[in-house]
């Protein structure tokens, strides 16, 4: 069901959406043009007040649950139907940008404002969610609110989580007035869409406006420790060395080659490495480094895992070093609901924007929501693929295009 079937020109306003984004960005604005609105700080509270105020002005009812997740609801003709939900987050990184998260929330608000403009009543209710602490910078884990909503975390554990100053989530929720009464989870969700900046360079590179997100890459994280023998760089001949860094370089290269051999959706990254004792004329005795591998397909990710283990075992043998691998995180690949993805694709097509299928390599609230409701995401380009940075940027027309596709997709699900 596309909005065309309504025989109405349902057009969102890019200008209104962008103005709301800029207004929200004034709260916690940083000198370099970014945002610092860490979860559950006074500034986060001010941001929540501003957006829930806009929700109410748009005629929505606002509900808050016990971990501070916010649900703005626009009634439908049949309120017994599960709502068509969209949302994201408005907390930011310490030196974050103006679009990561905020775009998804305000695109949802723009959909509601647009429906109001055209006096459109949907069958199912429409809801816009603001999930608590997606960034995970002040409080760990990331995607805390949506994770709690889908039952990944226990309420009590979350409320007792503390920041580095020992302040509790429960107390900080109360301090900003967002310690809601509603139980966490169990709220009906008929369908969940999330619009987001891509946080990667593919759309820009491929010159497409809309990314139809088919799912989320699975991820495995490891800590690798290679132990050799610390020796003087001058007097020790090459053949009898046990150079932990030299041995490590072969594993590091295979992390990348492993991903290339699982193209196009394989990823392999060594982001951090530490060399001991780190002296110019001492052969490294120990190197610790991280490995991050990702793939959209569970079998491929398992294959990449097995190859990493085999490579580590081989290097241990060939280089006379010890290699210890510890897995520290695992998220399985999450394919989004095929019908929902198709709804986004059709909306992009009927809206007339260029589009392409894409997978998300970063984590999003939608990845958790996918475990309780049919879910899909809509990406728009961000400049140079940069996010989590004050220079994060996106074009008003691209953001408007994302909101337009979101609007059409939500209408397709909310109108019978």
């Amino acid at each position: 069901m596309s909005s065309a079937l309504l025989d109405l020109p349902v057009k969102v306003s890019s200008e209104r959406l962008f103005k709301s984004l800029m207004d929200l960005a004034e709260i916690g604005a940083t000198p370099k043009g970014g945002n610092c609105r860490l979860a559950l700080t006074k500034l986060d509270g001010q941001g929540r007040d501003l957006v829930t105020g806009w929700m109410k002005e748009a005629g929505m009812t606002v509900t808050v649950d016990k971990v501070g997740n916010i649900f703005g609801r626009r009634a439908g003709k049949d309120n017994s139907l599960p709502p068509v939900m969209t949302g994201s987050h408005i907390d930011t990184q310490p030196t974050g940008g103006k679009f990561d998260g905020c775009f998804g929330v305000l695109a949802g608000l723009e959909v509601v404002r647009t429906l109001n403009d055209h006096d459109i009543q949907t069958d199912a209710p429409i809801e816009v969610a603001i999930w608590t602490n997606e960034e995970g910078t002040r409080f760990v884990p990331v995607m805390m609110g949506s994770g709690a909503f889908v039952g990944k975390f226990k309420l009590e554990d979350i409320l007792n989580t503390t920041d580095k100053d020992g302040k509790r989530v429960g107390d900080e929720l109360k301090a900003i007035g967002y310690d809601g009464k509603e139980s966490v989870g169990g709220r009906a969700v008929g369908a969940y869409f999330e619009a987001h900046i891509e946080q990667g360079p593919i759309l820009e590179h491929e010159k497409k406006v809309i990314g139809v997100v088919t799912g989320s890459l699975g991820l495995r994280w490891y800590d690798v420790t290679v132990t050799g023998m610390e020796m003087h760089a001058g007097p020790t001949p090459m053949p009898i060395r046990q150079d932990a860094l030299y041995a490590s370089t072969f594993i590091m290269q295979d992390v990348v080659q492993n991903a290339l051999d699982h193209a196009p959706h394989g990823r392999g990254t060594v982001g951090s490495a530490t060399v001991h004792p780190s002296s110019r004329n001492v052969i490294p005795g120990k190197v610790t480094f991280t490995v991050d591998i990702r793939h959209e397909n569970a079998d491929a990710l398992l294959d990449m895992h097995q190859r990493l283990m085999a490579t580590c075992a081989r290097i241990q043998k060939e280089h006379n070093v010890s290699v210890e691998v510890k897995e520290v995180s695992y998220f399985p690949p999450t394919p989004f609901d095929a019908a929902m993805v198709n709804t986004v694709r059709e909306a992009a097509k009927s809206s007339g924007f260029s589009y392409m299928d894409i997978v998300t390599g970063a984590g999003h609230d939608a990845v958790y929501l996918a475990s309780v409701a049919p879910t899909a995401m809509i990406f728009v380009p961000c400049k140079d693929g940069v996010s989590h940075n004050e220079i994060e940027d996106a074009k008003p027309e691209d953001l408007g295009a994302g909101a337009q596709v979101l609007c059409e997709a939500m209408l397709a699900k909310a109108i019978r």
Copy 2:
């Protein structure tokens, strides 16, 4: 001229030598069995007092120059002849061992004591030198005293060098009573031998007791900076990455391969590396690392240098990163005097110890002395090749063997 020609059984005492080493090691002893006697500290002063006391007991006259180098002299029959000199240093690393340096000085003292035992008078005088601040830990540069002696450094610069607390070499020499009156350098040296623990694993590995040191490896040090592009590890596809660490691994590997291709005397080491921003899920945007290449042959070292430059240029191009290389140190290869080296080889042979030719990869006072006098070195094994460490260890019989070879080599030069 070997001692056999004296028709006397001139045998050094391994026991006496080892006892003196252990007595000296009580000054600045560390809990883990090592030594901390940093240059020009009160403890260094106590060490100097102990050894110069032993020199005087052995009938030697003691002279100190303006940078604190000590010369213990045993007169010859013809004191117009330039002395046959040996020596090393008694300052240590912060967590140093009992043998590095001290062995060379006390092996020289053991030679004098042995000549006294046998009432042998040499034609040329015999001298035992203690060079100031060889380790370079408290005051930079390393091999300060011997470097000043051969004119590598200016006296005024050395005296004004300060430690991290701002204390001057000149003041610290005075504080321990070793601000001597003799001019630095210009003292006649007919021949210079230095006995030292190997500080590497070759002798142990080859099961040889004596290393006949034919020269010192030349050395070039570099700082390399590879700059790529910091990006999210999840959303960024492999083909468009500019991964500074991945690019760096190819240079790091070629540093080792370069040395292997210049076997057996090539060395290549990346001892230190730092990754930015060093976050598990961020593609490294910048990596800085050190390169240390060494070879005994100047042409081969130049060839290794040119290959390093070519590799860096190639990786810059192939990996779409920028590679900056800065050379920070250069010591040319120093072949020792062929006749002197042969004297050591003959002494090892006539003494009946197993021996092999070897080059030194580490720096020694002898490398500077080689620029003003015919020079050679004698190595003895140290356990597992470990030095600059409290667990540094050597066998009394091996140390005695080294002193015996030193004795025979010095006699060969000091008796006509």
